[in-house]
Symmetry: C2
Subunit: 345 residues, 2 copies
């Protein structure tokens, strides 16, 4: 542990007394995600989105269970050596997480950050490992198209039409093991988001609701760490989609920050817009998580990416708040991931 007394930087950012690494991760997705542009990169693709379960919620629980099993297996870590789980999902009362992770019998911190939960969970897991509170912890999140449609929109059987600004909830779960044991990908800092409400009321345009929170977070991260966009190989948002991406880039340009050359969005990457009819792009907690695991982490591990800012964004609404006429505020949680050369210890 270093002799430093405090680790907070600027307004909203943090570094850690001890080095924190993502030593393993896994992605489990549904059929549609498997047919998309990243299909070849996922660890497990299920042909049947029920995943052998009786209902969509249990299917989502199974996603989390399998993703964690795979991440543990890859790192050769037994569940009893994982000190804490940091996990959440989109469903009311986090039921996908509770019923998915129960059998592991690992102390659990349940989280809710809407689709920003991949960032929130990796942030808290990093804070935990970075303080010496645990040798190994896991961060994981999930979403499921059918359980989310049931929760937030209409029953699938209703076959409603979707506006082009709507996103398509990703069926998937990403699990991450974090440890002080040296690996090739270090979590070098985090920037934690505030709720940002710009008055968006359209629950079918989540990208517009979340883009201001992403802009706020990215600008703050750059200021806190004294960086400019070129200091990141990529700035990766979670699920802004095409609509949200344009708003994000414009909002930051007004602050004279140009991220257009380095910005990517997991929701844009995960589906083929033309072929897959997915509107503005993919969304859901699982979208950012599986894309980080399957697409970005391998590049950070091999060193073709040196440093990225990973910024999952969440839209803070429920059907109750929406029906009562509330706005859809957003939140974003940023994680700085860096390639390091692995030394023999």
């Amino acid at each position: 542990m270093s002799g430093k007394d405090t680790y907070y930087i600027g307004e909203q950012s943090l570094t850690f007394p001890k080095d924190v690494y993502i030593i393993s991760s896994a992605s489990v997705v549904g059929k549609k995600e498997g047919e998309g542009p990243l299909g070849g990169a996922f660890d497990m693709i299920c042909d049947n989105d029920r995943f052998g379960e009786d209902n969509w919620e249990m299917a989502e629980s199974t996603l989390q269970k399998e993703a964690l099993a795979l991440a543990l297996g890859k790192a050769d870590v037994e569940p009893e050596n994982v000190r804490y789980l940091f996990a959440g999902d989109l469903l009311g009362q986090n039921i996908a997480t509770s019923f998915g992770l129960m059998d592991y019998e690992i102390p659990l911190f349940g989280l809710y950050g809407a689709c920003s939960t991949a960032g929130e969970s990796i942030s808290l897991a990093s804070m935990c490992v970075g303080a010496g509170y645990a040798k190994t912890v896991a961060a994981l999140t999930s979403s499921h198209f059918a359980s989310a449609e049931k929760q937030f929109r209409y029953p699938l059987e209703y076959a409603n039409q979707r506006p082009v600004s709507a996103t398509w909830t990703v069926t998937g779960s990403g699990a991450f093991l974090l440890s002080g044991k040296r690996g090739n990908v270090r979590v070098s800092g985090i920037t934690t988001g505030k709720i940002v409400d710009m008055g968006v009321k359209d629950s079918m345009n989540m990208g517009a609701a979340m883009a201001p929170a992403a802009a706020d977070l990215i600008a703050q991260n750059l200021e806190d760490f004294g960086r400019s966009p070129k200091d990141y190989d990529k700035i990766v948002t979670g699920d802004l989609g095409y609509v949200g991406q344009e708003i994000l880039i414009n909002l930051l340009q007004k602050q004279k920050i140009d991220i257009s050359k380095v910005h990517e969005d997991c929701g844009i990457l995960i589906f083929d817009k033309e072929e897959q009819d997915t509107g503005s792009g993919g969304s859901g907690c699982g979208c950012a998580a599986v894309t980080l695991s399957a697409h970005y982490l391998p590049m950070l591990e091999e060193g073709s990416l040196k440093r990225i800012l990973f910024v999952p964004t969440g839209a803070l609404l429920s059907t109750v708040s929406f029906n009562e006429g509330q706005n859809v505020p957003g939140i974003a949680h940023g994680v700085v991931l860096e390639h390091v050369d692995k030394e023999v210890q």
Copy 2:
């Protein structure tokens, strides 16, 4: 910071590199709670449970907003000097928290631990301050009788009968400021809970669903810290109620642990069973939070209590999981609170 490298103790417990204190807290409750045995101790009691809002969810948001404002005021801390909020509630997608805390513009970690959230939020807040990640953070939770009935049970207008094992959701919010600045109440350790599922399927008997998780957590805390029940002046559960208390004491007696002399339950304390017709007792995130703030913290501050184990418990269900025939698993999060003599710094 001490020279120790790790701070985990036993299977599920933790201490902190730097001392962590609860420097201030506040409780805001509804009319019925104000009429109960602890009525004189709460900071604010509202005559109208709408709290001036148009709906129950916004009323619950207002509870959180007011509780945090009071806790800040008591400690003379400005919102901009609070580095993080750790907060959650019972509603789907945590809307009471999101809409209640938005205006503070403080980085937020949204949590979901059902009624254990008071323990979860103070645990994570303590980990944060104890690592030197922040000077001052806030932990807060809320519940509201009417928003919870609407979410989990029946519309109030339906006027359904309640079984005697049912608990009465507390309308209230408790806010806690944690800091490294020396106060009279120190968070000396935490014990983080696993999900415990004993097969209870009755959502009208939350006490029975949560008691096994509380028993598991208390036994683990005693083992991890090498203590016996007499090392605590009180072991305080959140909302087991009369039904859950009996189960808890019996479960621990089977392990030859007798907590009957030191056990108290916030759900039992907060209402007068005979006068207020509240079934098995009070429940909800707010129950444990306001009782800790209004009843236990003052005794810890003055030293009439030297050390307590605070164990809020949560029942992990939603109407969806319940209607799909799932069990009601429980979780508990333990916080060790100790009186310390305040020195002039």
